[in-house]
Symmetry: C2
Subunit: 206 residues, 2 copies
């Protein structure tokens, strides 16, 4: 299983520091939506060049204007970009095509979607499907349980990522189950007193 570390709600300078210090510890470094909307893709485009090992995801959360946003995101040197599953199917098809042509990846964010609405998205075989609990929801989220259930409902989906309050115990469960391809950890690493030590601890638990 891969470890993705999400960096969010920090200054641009702090984001660059965090990204470079977590390079090679995180398999994927995520520049969260807050960084995209606060600073913009143009300001983020040089971060990829500072990374030697980790892939870079920019959480653009595209929901319309798919070609424009994905072309801009890959130009800003993202390896992986995100699109909302709740988008028009035309938007999903458009970004998938941009990703395939660029030999890059797309993560479909399933936030707030019913299973019936996920069904038409199974055509996007190479996409990563992101199980993602709303930050604003007060409900508790069982990451490992959600991945198990999702895999039972959609056994054909190959690439599953999961995010939402994931701690060390959840990472161990996810790793033992062997279904999810990516565990996305945010504050428990990026917000730790020692993010490098925390990152290594999570990495060791995989």
């Amino acid at each position: 299983m891969k470890l993705q570390v999400a960096i969010d709600r920090v200054s641009l300078a702090a984001a660059i520091d965090l990204a470079t210090s977590l390079d090679g510890i995180a398999d994927v470094i995520e520049l969260g939506t807050s960084l995209v909307k606060d600073y913009g893709l143009i300001a983020l485009q040089d971060i990829k060049a500072t990374l030697q090992k980790s892939a870079l995801l920019m959480d653009v959360k595209t929901i319309d204007e798919g070609v424009y946003e994905f072309e801009k995101g890959y130009e800003a040197n993202a390896d992986i970009l995100t699109v909302m599953g709740a988008s028009d199917l035309a938007t999903l098809k458009a970004v998938y095509e941009v990703a395939q042509k660029a030999h890059k990846q797309v993560l479909i964010d399933l936030l707030n979607m019913d299973e019936a609405d996920i069904e038409p998205l199974l055509i996007f075989e190479d996409a990563i499907f992101g199980l993602h609990h709303s930050h604003d929801s007060a409900n508790a989220f069982d990451a490992a349980g959600s991945v198990k259930h999702f895999h039972e409902v959609f056994p054909s989906i190959q690439h599953i990522a999961v995010a939402g309050g994931i701690d060390l115990e959840q990472v161990q469960k996810l790793s033992a189950d062997g279904i999810a391809e990516v565990a996305i950890v945010g504050g428990k690493i990026a917000g730790a007193d020692d993010p490098v030590a925390a990152g290594k601890q999570f990495k060791g638990a995989l």
Copy 2:
């Protein structure tokens, strides 16, 4: 009816030029999602001070982390911010509360939503409801017809904005019907050879 002009997919300098030259012609100047994601809210925060008359909308398309994004957007001097209707209800409640406290406005973007899913959103009485056709959809969009139908289904909704390929003829129809509060025009004004002349022509048609 109010005229909202959307500025999108241009450089920051061109966006500032367009915004200042359309000040007072457009009732609302919209800084589109492309500007938010390309340049970031921090780079857009000084635009409001250049406007004497027009209100400023930033099309942030929030779909999670409602409080954070809306606080940042209003700090960047937006009068109106947008949230996706497809968000978790907790996100919609959160941004609505931030807007009410700040005495500012929220536009709920109904992109790609079924009528059944719109029903729970009727509690947001002061919100502007945005009928919004996906840019990526190949289907034609009848703005005036859509507004009429929407008003029949949801007669209690007071504030309706409509966007999607709106030309002079559609603006005249919308104005004659008197249902929509805001007509959102993009390329037909911002992309015209003479945006000021085009803006005045649309304004005259209201």
